[in-house]
C-alpha cells in the first residue's frame, strides 16, 4: 500500500512537472509569436494598448506587454542580451538613456523612410536609434488654494519654493524619479552651473529643505490630493489628472535661461535583432499619427510631438489651463543636453550631498 502510494505520488509529480513544462513551452512559443512592447504599467499601458496598438493590425503577432519603468526594462534587456535573448521588440525609454543606448548597439538605427508619420514631428525628435514620440512638460505643480489662503504668490522660479511658509509642504523628485532631472538642472542653472557643473544644485536643494523626496509620482499624487504637500517640481500630466479629480492644482513654468518650462521626452527604440521589425516600425508610425497622439496625450497628460495631436488636446479646457500646447511654446521649452550631464556621477553626488 505504501509502495503504491509512493509510486502514485511519483507519477503525479512527474505528470505535474510535465504539465508545467508543456505550459511553459506553450507560453514561450506564444511569446516568440507575440509583438512585445516594453513600457510602463497602469494607465500608460492601457493607453498604449487602446490608443496606439488598437489602431494597428497585429493579427499575426498579438501584442504582449513587458511592464516596468525604462531603467528596469533596460536592466532586463542587458541581462537578456548577456544570455543571447531578445526580451522584447520595442522599448519606451527616457532621454537620459539615449546617449548610452546610441553607443551600446542594443537598438537598431532607425530607418525614417519606414516612418511616414515622423515627418510631422520636430527635427530634434528624430534621433539616430530612437524616435521621440511624446514629452512631459516639467515645471512646478502647486496647490493654488493653499497658496492663496497663505498669501504665497504663485511661483515663477524654483527658488520661490524657498519660502518659510512652505516648510513641511514641499516635495522634491528623488534621483530615481524622471522629473528629478529638469528640476536639478534648472537649480544648477540658477546657481550659476549647467549640465556639466551640477554641484550648485545640491546646495540649493538643501536650502529648499523639502519635506521629502518622492520616488513614485503616485505617492506624491496621494499627498498632494490630501493637502499634505502644497508644491513640488513635477510634470503637468499629474497636475491634469489631479485637476480632473477636483484638486485645486495649478502649474507654473520656471525659466531655464531664456527658455520657459522644460521637456522630458519619451522615445521608442527597436531592439537589435528583433524578428518583429516590421511590426516595430508599424507601432512607431502609428504612435506618431495624429489620432494616436491626441488620444494618448489626453489619456496620459503628455505632450504630443505631432501638432495635430496637440490640437486634439487643445479642445479640453483643463489641458489648455495647465499645459503649453502651442508650437511656439514647445520650441521655447528647455531640453537638457544629456551628452553633457554625467548621470552616474550626479547620482553619487546626490546620495552623498543631500541633507538627510
Amino acid at each position: 500500500m505504501a509502495d503504491l502510494s509512493r509510486r502514485t505520488l511519483v507519477k503525479a509529480a512527474v505528470g505535474a512537472a510535465a504539465g508545467v513544462a508543456s505550459a511553459r513551452m506553450a507560453r514561450a512559443a506564444d511569446a516568440a509569436a507575440a509583438f512585445r512592447i516594453a513600457t510602463w504599467g497602469g494607465s500608460w499601458r492601457d493607453s498604449v494598448a487602446k490608443s496606439i496598438v488598437g489602431g494597428m493590425d497585429l493579427r499575426g503577432a498579438p501584442p504582449d506587454y513587458v511592464l516596468g519603468n525604462p531603467d528596469d526594462n533596460l536592466a532586463k534587456l542587458i541581462a537578456a542580451h548577456r544570455g543571447g535573448q531578445i526580451p522584447f521588440d520595442v522599448m519606451e525609454c527616457n532621454p537620459d538613456q539615449i546617449p548610452a543606448l546610441t553607443r551600446s548597439g542594443l537598438f537598431e538605427t532607425v530607418d525614417y523612410g519606414k516612418l511616414p508619420n515622423a515627418a510631422a514631428i520636430p527635427d530634434w525628435a528624430r534621433e539616430q536609434c530612437v524616435v521621440c514620440t511624446v514629452s512631459t512638460e516639467d515645471g512646478i505643480a502647486y496647490n493654488e488654494e493653499k497658496f492663496r489662503q497663505s498669501g504665497i504668490a504663485p511661483p515663477t522660479s524654483y527658488l520661490d519654493l524657498k519660502n518659510p511658509l512652505l516648510a513641511g509642504k514641499l516635495a522634491f523628485p528623488d534621483v530615481s524619479n524622471a522629473q528629478h532631472w529638469n528640476a536639478v538642472v534648472g537649480l544648477a542653472m540658477l546657481g550659476g552651473g549647467s549640465e556639466s557643473d551640477m554641484l550648485p544644485a545640491l546646495k540649493l536643494v538643501n536650502e529648499l529643505k523639502p519635506a521629502y523626496f518622492f520616488a513614485a509620482s503616485t505617492d506624491l499624487a496621494t499627498r498632494f490630493g490630501s493637502g499634505e504637500i502644497w508644491a513640488a517640481p513635477w510634470q503637468v500630466g499629474w497636475a491634469v489628472r489631479l485637476k480632473r479629480a477636483g484638486a485645486p492644482v495649478a502649474m507654473a513654468y520656471p525659466k531655464f535661461g531664456d527658455k520657459v518650462g522644460a521637456l522630458y521626452t519619451i522615445s521608442v527604440g527597436i531592439v537589435k535583432g528583433t524578428p518583429r521589425e516590421s511590426e516595430a516600425y508599424a507601432f512607431i508610425n502609428e504612435y506618431l499619427s495624429t489620432a494616436a497622439q491626441g488620444a494618448h496625450g489626453a489619456a496620459t497628460g503628455t505632450l504630443p510631438l505631432n501638432p495635430g495631436g496637440r490640437s486634439v488636446l487643445a479642445q479640453d479646457p483643463v489641458n489648455t489651463g495647465l499645459m503649453i500646447l502651442s508650437d511656439q511654446g514647445l520650441n521655447d521649452m528647455f531640453q537638457i543636453d544629456w551628452s553633457r550631464l554625467d548621470t552616474r556621477q550626479w547620482r553619487e553626488a546626490w546620495n552623498r550631498g543631500i541633507n538627510r
Partner: protein, 270 residues
C-alpha cells in the same frame, strides 16, 4: 538539496562572480578578475555608513518586534481556542497583502495630515505634526510592520512547546507572574526567540520597499543603493559586491548565533 543549489547557491555564485569584475558601463564588465569593487566599498565612509544604517535599523526593528511580538504570541498561545485561531488567521491574512499597499496606508495614517497627527493636534497633545515618516523612524515603523506578523506566528509555535504545567509549578512554589515570565518562560523560549529574531533581522536587512516608501528619499540603506547601482546605473559589478557583502554579513551573523545557540543548549524544556 538540488533545489537549494539551483535556487539559492547558483544565483549567488553568479552574483559573486560579477562582483569580481570592474564595470564598463551599460551592464558590461571587464574580463579581468579584481577586488576593486570590494576595496572601493570597504574604504568609502559613505558605504560603511550605509551598512551601519542598515544594521542598526534592522536590529532595532527586530528588538522591538521581539519585545512586542513575544508577549502577543504568548497571550495568544495561552488563550488558545477559536479566539487565537481567528487572531492568528487575521495576522496571517495581513501577510498576504502586498507590502506596497500596506506602506501606502501607513503613509496616509502617519503623514502630517494623517489620522494620528490630526488626533494629536485635536487633543492638544502636540502643537505641530510629529514627523513619523520620511526619516529613519518611518523606515523603522515599516520594518516592524513587515516582520511582526511572521514573528508572532513563529513565536506562537515556540510558546506552544512550553508546557503550561511548569508555569503552574513555579506559581505553586511562590514565583510571581513577572518572575515566572523572566525565569521560566523566557529561558525556555530562548532558542525560538533567537531563531525568530534572526529571521526578522535577515528580512529587514534585505528590505527595500520600506526604505523607499517611508524613508522619503533620505534613508539610503544598502538594498536601496544596490537597486540604484543595478537598475539605474547598470553597474552590475559594484552592485553585486554590495549584495555579496550584505549576504556574507548576514550569513556570518547567523553562524555566530547558531554557535551560541548550540553552546547554550537551545533552552529546550527538559
Amino acid at each position: 538539496m538540488l533545489l537549494s543549489l539551483g535556487l539559492l547557491v547558483l544565483p549567488q555564485a553568479a552574483f559573486i562572480w560579477l562582483s569580481l569584475h570592474a564595470d564598463l558601463g551599460l551592464g558590461q564588465i571587464s574580463d579581468a578578475v579584481t577586488l576593486e569593487n570590494y576595496l572601493r566599498v570597504l574604504t568609502d565612509p559613505f558605504y560603511l555608513g550605509s551598512f551601519w544604517l542598515t544594521v542598526h535599523l534592522s536590529a532595532a526593528a527586530t528588538l522591538f518586534g521581539l519585545l512586542v511580538g513575544f508577549p502577543a504570541a504568548y497571550a495568544l498561545a495561552r488563550i488558545g481556542g477559536w479566539i487565537a485561531t481567528i487572531i492568528l488567521s487575521l495576522i496571517l491574512t495581513t501577510s498576504l497583502i502586498t507590502v506596497v499597499v500596506k506602506l501606502m496606508g501607513l503613509n496616509i495614517i502617519l503623514g502630517s495630515t494623517g489620522l494620528i497627527n490630526t488626533s494629536l493636534l485635536a487633543l492638544s497633545i502636540t502643537s505641530s505634526p510629529v514627523q513619523m515618516i520620511n526619516n529613519e523612524t518611518g523606515v523603522f515603523i515599516g520594518l516592524v510592520q513587515y516582520t511582526m506578523p511572521l514573528m508572532i506566528v513563529l513565536l506562537f509555535g515556540v510558546v506552544q512547546t512550553i508546557p503550561v504545567e511548569i508555569e503552574e509549578a513555579a506559581a505553586i512554589l511562590g514565583a510571581t507572574r513577572a518572575r515566572t515570565y523572566l525565569r521560566v518562560i523566557l529561558p525556555n523560549a530562548r532558542a525560538g526567540l533567537l531563531s525568530s529574531g534572526l529571521i526578522a533581522f535577515n528580512m529587514s536587512m534585505g528590505a527595500f520597499t520600506s526604505a523607499v516608501l517611508l524613508g522619503g528619499g533620505r534613508v539610503r540603506t544598502i538594498p536601496v543603493l544596490i537597486q540604484q547601482m543595478i537598475i539605474q546605473n547598470n553597474d552590475y559589478g559594484k552592485g553585486a559586491a554590495l549584495s555579496t557583502m550584505l549576504v556574507v554579513f548576514a550569513f556570518l551573523l547567523n553562524l555566530i548565533a547558531g554557535g551560541l545557540l548550540a553552546r547554550g543548549g537551545g533552552g529546550q524544556t527538559g
